[in-house]
Amino acid sequence: MTDIRELPAVMEVCERLKAKIRCDFVGLAFQNEAGPDVRWHYAAGNMNDKYKRIIVRFGKGIAGKVISSGCPLMMTNFPHDIHGKMTDYPIALAEKLVSVYAVPLFLPTVPKGVLLIGNRASYLFTGEEQETVNDAAKALEQLLTGEGF
C-alpha cells in the first residue's frame, strides 16, 4: 500500500477538514492489503505516535466497526456513551478523544478505510459538520481510488 505521506493531496484534504471543522484530531485508517486487520496510516493533531502501532482487528475498535458495518459512527462523550469496554476503543484512549465522528471510505465499492475526526472534549457534531466530513470522505475516495487503493 502506498504511504499516505507520499500523497500530499490526501493530507491536504485532511488538514483542510481539520481547519474547517476546528476539531482536535483527524485520522485515516485502512484495512491491510493482506488480512482483515486495520491500521491508522495518517493523523493530524495527534499527541503522540501511538496510532502508528495500533492494529485494530476487523470489527473491533472505531475503525474496525466502521469498516465492517460500512456505516458512520459517532461518540459524544467517551467513555460514558459506549457499548463494551473503554479498552475496545484504543484510538480514543491513545489520543484522549472524548467525541468522535467516523465515516467509511469505499475503495472503490467496498468499505476499506475510515476517516475520523475527534475532539478532546464532549461534543455533538452538527449535521453541517457531518456533511463536511462526508464530502471530505468522498474527495478522499476519489483520490485514493485513483492511486489504486
Partner: protein
C-alpha cells in the same frame, strides 16, 4: 475460624473457579470450535478444487476467507482469555506474547527486562501474577497517558520481583482512597495477598505510577 481468613478463602475460591472457567472456555474455543472450523476449511478447499463453475468457485472462495478470518478471531480470543504459553512455557514467554498484543492494541511500547533464572511456579500463582501484570498494563493504557512502559522481572533463589513503571501523568493515591477505593488497584493487591505475595503501588503526579509485585518462591 477467623472471619478474615474465611473471607480470604472465599475470595480465593471464587477467583480459582473463575480462572478454571476461563481456561475451560479458552481451551474449548481453541481445541473444539477452532479445530472444527479448521476441518470445515480443509473440506471447503477440497470441494473448491473439484468445482468448475466460476460463480460457485468465487462464492466458495469468499466462504473460505470468512472461515479463515473466524479461525484467526477464535484463536486470538482464546489466547486473550487464557494464554496457553503460561502453562506450557512459563511466565516470561506468556508475558512476552501478551506484550506483543498489548503494543499492537494500545500503541504503547513496553521494554521488558528479565534477570535471573526463571523458576517453575504453581499454575495458580503464575496466573495470579500474570493477571496482576495485565491489570497494571491495562490501567496504564486507560489512565496514564503514556507511550512507554518499563517492566523488570527479577528472579532470585527465593523470590520473584516484578516492577512495572509507566512514565505517565501519575495519580494521587490518597485522593483515590476516598470516597471509594479504586477496585482495580485493590483487586491487584488482594490477588497477590491470596497467593502469599505482595503488590505495592506508588505514584507521583507528573512522574507516573510504579507497581511492584513480589512473590516468595
Amino acid at each position: 475460624m477467623d472471619p478474615l481468613q474465611t473471607k480470604q478463602q472465599i475470595s480465593s475460591y471464587i477467583i480459582d473457579s473463575q480462572e478454571e472457567d476461563i481456561k475451560r472456555i479458552a481451551l474449548e474455543l481453541h481445541e473444539g470450535v477452532g479445530q472444527n472450523l479448521y476441518s470445515i476449511l480443509t473440506g471447503l478447499q477440497f470441494v473448491n478444487s473439484a468445482i468448475k463453475e466460476p460463480q460457485i468457485k468465487g462464492y466458495l472462495q469468499e466462504m473460505t476467507l470468512l472461515i479463515e478470518k473466524t479461525i484467526r478471531e477464535t484463536r486470538t480470543l482464546s489466547v486473550e482469555l487464557h494464554p496457553p504459553v503460561l502453562t506450557t512455557l512459563g511466565l516470561i514467554p506468556a508475558l512476552r506474547s501478551y506484550l506483543k498484543l498489548y503494543t499492537s492494541t494500545f500503541g504503547i511500547l513496553v521494554d521488558l527486562d528479565s534477570a535471573g533464572m526463571e523458576k517453575i511456579i504453581p499454575e495458580r500463582n503464575s496466573i495470579a501474577v500474570f493477571r496482576v501484570c495485565q491489570e497494571a498494563l491495562v490501567n496504564a493504557a486507560k489512565y496514564a497517558d503514556t507511550s512507554n512502559v518499563k517492566m523488570t522481572v527479577h528472579w532470585t533463589e527465593d523470590e520473584l520481583m516484578i516492577r512495572i513503571q509507566d512514565f505517565g501523568k501519575g495519580l494521587n493515591l490518597k485522593e483515590l482512597r476516598f470516597p471509594k477505593p479504586t477496585s482495580g488497584l485493590a483487586a491487584m493487591k488482594e490477588r497477590m495477598l491470596l497467593i502469599g505475595g505482595q503488590c505495592m503501588i506508588s505514584s507521583k503526579i507528573g512522574e507516573g505510577t510504579l507497581i511492584e509485585i513480589s512473590l516468595p518462591l
